[in-house]
Symmetry: C2
Subunit: 159 residues, 2 copies
DNA sequence: CCGTATTGGTAAAGTGACTTGACCCTACAA
DNA sequence: TTGTAGGGTCAAGTCACTTTACCAATACGG
């Protein structure tokens, strides 16, 4: 019933601000950007200073371990060439290897090196630290609630 | 699922995943990406098909209206040259104008055109639709809770 | 089996969204 | 005044991509 006519909705009342209060988009984006920066910062502090944001995408959940390059490309919504370029970089920097798939002679599989898994450990740690910070700000219970709600949201819109 | 044979795992407790359960990072990122795709999709459907993800950043909360290019550059964490490049595109595509700042002869101010504000209306509408979808999935109360928690989180880490 | 289509990956060339470095003009404080 | 910082732009270079094309292996319908 709220959305039958969008007239009142879309016209913002304040003239010099196109947006009113933060939309759910911004509310999700801003903390995610905090996480992202934190991950990069920690990685750089721990000697993985040859990684940048683009590389980070490859390590993103659920991680590249065992995946086929084309799988990863689809997951990250980039062309397989673009992804292969990234994989080349990461292989050169000794974060992973591309090994032949034993079950399909066309395919390859990504295998993390020791350095690669170490980097992922740093990432997980960085996020863990941030989580405890947020936990303190929101309270344990409320933070747990937030996490649960986000989890539910992700399950719903996984398609 | 896949072969159990490759069970040389990192210090992560979960078997064949370098990551265990989704970290808060992924939980924030994934719905944000849903929002992002939805915004672009809606824009393209409504005739704003000359916009891409990079342009969207400029329109992000709280929007470019009245801002100085250098402000926007800092906000988006890109160089002022990079941002100026984007503004050039958006000006050429008739989404905004760069006008001289009346109070500072060095500066310019971004002013949205009619087409620009229309695009923002579409964005807000797209997010509003998604919000009602999520509201139905989580329930009104729980979704309101989620929004409140996210708002709190953003206030905390605004610095 | 065969022939065809599909899938996984690569190579090469082009490009465009950036970067770095320089510069100009204005503002402001000393 | 001067010196310094801030806002913006121009120009050149770069590299992370895209596009196009192609090969090899697999899947599948007969």
């Amino acid at each position: 019933m709220t959305t039958k006519s969008s007239s009142r909705f879309t016209k913002s009342q304040s003239p010099d601000q196109a947006f009113g209060p933060p939309l759910i988009g911004a509310l999700l984006r801003m903390p995610w950007e905090v996480v992202q920066r934190r991950m990069l910062q920690r990685l750089h502090e721990h000697g993985f200073d040859d990684l940048d944001a683009a590389h980070l995408n490859v390590f993103q959940y659920p991680g590249p371990q065992g995946a086929k390059p084309s799988e990863l490309a689809a997951r990250l919504r980039v062309s397989k060439q673009a992804l292969n370029y990234l994989l080349g970089e990461l292989e050169r920097l000794d974060y992973l290897e591309r090994r032949p798939d034993p079950d399909d002679l066309r395919a390859k599989r990504v295998a993390l090196t020791r350095r690669g898994t170490s980097a992922i450990d740093v990432i997980r740690d960085a996020v863990a630290v941030l989580e405890t910070e947020w936990e303190q700000q929101l309270g344990r219970q409320r933070f747990a609630q937030l996490r649960a709600l986000l989890q539910e949201l992700n399950q719903a819109s996984s398609g």
